[in-house]
């Protein structure tokens, strides 16, 4: 028998407008029929016909964007909310780590809160007394357990909440994004605990935005979108499909923004056509100057395979394609690019002069491609300067901050400006497990 079974489960939320609410109150008072008049003015579907089974001992992941219905689904499984349609069945004692330390009373001590919280989660007083020391030790709060909870830092609060909840020892553990609260030392401890659950063949439903962890610990993953299951199955494939969907969405947003900024730049450039170049300013301001003896007609960002795109993986390549046209043949020209991050820091800049290309002749229309083999940038938004000018710096056509692209990867968390290519090596005295070992 599966531990959790959902058949066409749906949950509709009702939205009451304040006007409607007043009418309900009036009719409730006047006619006395509260229940009939409590009809919603608007319905919101949070979960829509979801069916799946979670077998006993399985670790089941739920992923999806904010507002996709994951948390509602978890509350339905926990029994906190009731489905408006469909059938839902669970087998065994459930503990839901939906919000850690929910119900802690700020005025009373951690010790008393542990007891009350434990009882609420379904432990008996005796069981709590037996596990009390372990709970406190796990939360690393030995010194503070008799202080009122209001004096705790938010980290201490969460640790205590997690520690109580994990010690409830349920058959089914539901967790919603609870690991995002701990510090670097506490999260591995929590994962160890969850791992311990897995070994004891308990059922876990794991909701998280931490896709790496989801991939590592889940046996199967369901991707929820707009209240429905978009995909269900192998963790890696489901997470990848979800990531692709997010990237596609970012790409679409970017193109929209890029289109809007090109129009704005075109309008702006007409006004300043013959004006002298403005002083270089801090921050990012889209600008274009120069007399356009040589004009940059178009700049296209492509992946190395030639497809036009704006969202790149840090280890991907980028090729900047510049369409130029010279009104009259010129013999003095330099092409340059500059990459800036969102803080305005120059990440990289180069031009043909710095790389000792000797200009001979530019006539009519042409194409210049700057091919970057690997971006090696950290996650973030980047802005691009593209220019063509004389060797003494006199600008023909200077595009400042007019183009942008996004570097995005869930797998990369490193910081800084550039991503320096690197590997780690350790002598035998420095022992690490393989990166995955913490979980499996």
């Amino acid at each position: 028998m599966p531990a959790i079974e959902l058949e066409g489960v749906g949950r509709v939320y009702q939205k009451y407008s304040s006007r409607h609410r007043f009418q309900t109150f009036k009719s409730a008072l006047v006619r006395g029929d509260i229940f009939r008049s409590l009809q919603a003015s608007e319905l919101v579907t949070a979960v829509d016909g979801v069916s799946f089974k979670v077998e006993r001992g399985e670790t089941f992941g739920l992923i999806g964007e904010n507002g996709s219905g994951k948390s509602t689904l978890l509350k339905l499984i926990a029994g906190i909310a009731k489905p408006t349609s469909g059938r839902l069945r669970t087998e065994g004692k459930i503990s839901a780590l939906i919000e850690l330390g929910a119900g802690f009373h700020p005025e009373i001590s951690g010790r008393e809160n542990v007891f009350i919280n434990g009882i609420m989660l379904g432990l008996s007083k005796k069981e709590i007394a037996r596990k009390f020391d372990e709970i406190v030790r796990f939360a690393e709060l030995e010194e503070f357990i008799d202080a009122p909870v209001k004096t705790y830092s938010s980290g201490m609060y969460m640790r205590l909440g997690f520690s109580v909840a994990i010690n409830v020892n349920p058959d089914i553990l539901l967790t919603d994004e609870v690991l995002s609260v701990g510090d670097a030392a506490f999260v591995p401890k929590c994962l160890d605990k969850i791992d311990d659950f897995r070994r004891r063949r308990k059922t876990i439903v794991f909701v998280s935005h931490d896709l790496d962890t989801v991939k590592k610990i889940c046996d199967r993953v369901a991707w929820i979108k707009d209240g429905k299951i978009r995909m269900l199955g192998d963790p890696k494939r489901t997470v990848d499909a979800y990531l692709q969907d997010i990237t596609a969405k970012q790409e679409a947003e970017f193109q929209e923004r890029a289109a809007a900024s090109t129009v704005a730049a075109a309008v702006a450039s007409q006004a300043i056509e013959s004006a002298p170049p403005p002083p270089p300013e801090e921050g990012r301001r889209e600008n274009r100057w120069g007399r356009r003896e040589v004009e940059i007609r178009k700049v296209t960002l492509r992946g190395l395979d030639g497809t036009e795109k704006h969202v790149f993986h840090p280890e991907e390549g980028l090729s900047i394609e510049i369409d130029v046209a010279a009104a009259a043949p010129v013999e003095d020209f330099v092409f340059g690019i500059g990459v800036f991050n969102s803080l305005g820091t120059s990440c990289y800049g180069t031009n043909t002069q710095l790389e000792d290309y000797e200009p001979k002749l530019l006539r009519g229309e042409g194409k210049v491609v700057c091919r970057i083999e690997r971006l090696n940038l950290i996650n973030g938004t980047y802005y691009l300067d593209v220019a063509v000018h004389k060797r003494d710096g006199y600008p023909y056509d200077y595009h400042q901050n007019m183009y942008s692209f996004l570097v995005s990867s869930a797998a990369h968390k490193d910081v800084g400006v550039a991503r320096l290519p690197h590997t780690w090596e350790f002598s035998p005295a420095v022992a690490f497990g393989p990166p995955d070992k913490k979980i499996r």
Binding site: A28, K82, I98, E107, I108, K125
Partner: protein
Amino acid sequence: MRRLFGNLKELYKYRVLIQNLVSRELKARYRGTVLGFLWSFFNPLLLMLVYTMVFGLILKGGRVEFGDSPTLYAVFLFTGMLPWTWFSSSSLESANCLMINGNLIKKILFPAEVLPVVTVLSNLVHFSLGLPILFVFLLVFGKGLTFWALFLPAVMLVQMTFSLGFGLLISSLTVHFRDIRDILANLLTLWFFSTPIIYPLSFKSIQESSFLSTLLNLNPMTHIIEGYHTCLFYGAAPHWKRLGITFLAGLVLFVIGYAVFDRLRDSFPEEV
């Protein structure tokens, strides 16, 4: 009805939680005060002094029934004030209890009626803490205590049933109509003066007006407070018939209140 018993059985399973929440409530309420739980009887005591000053010394009308003695009047006042405080605090706090604990209702699975029950029970504890003081007053300044004082628990049971029913009804309705909180605060003031607390039921102007005496007789709290008055202050047998009917009314209110609560239960997690 079967649902009611099912719910009650479920509630019984949570008795340890109720017990712990009540003690938490009591600990938390006076945490940080110098006098601590002594406030449980200082509060009605101070209230009694205020009313004694106004109706026993300034307006004087209150004390005529008590041989013109302000101390006897004060003891009478205190006898009614203490249980009234239990009822009014329970009701006002019940109106808020689901919203205040919204976090719990949204995140933890437990029967929500635990919350109004805890509210009524923790106020019962305050009431009980005030009782010794009341007994001292009755012995020193009042007419003494008689054998009938042993029937105090019966009166308390009637009040308890009524308060629980009212608390369940108010708490669940307030989730949907927050207006009730404000209505209730004013209603309780009216209710207080429509209950024989600062005046005895035997007061001349009440007995002379059939409107007033009907109004007061229809008020269940009249008979409950009268129950305290008769078996504690007057040391006589309580009016069993009236108390019995009030108990039945309390039971009916409890069943209705619980049914409304049960009916609205599923809407709490999204509305609180």
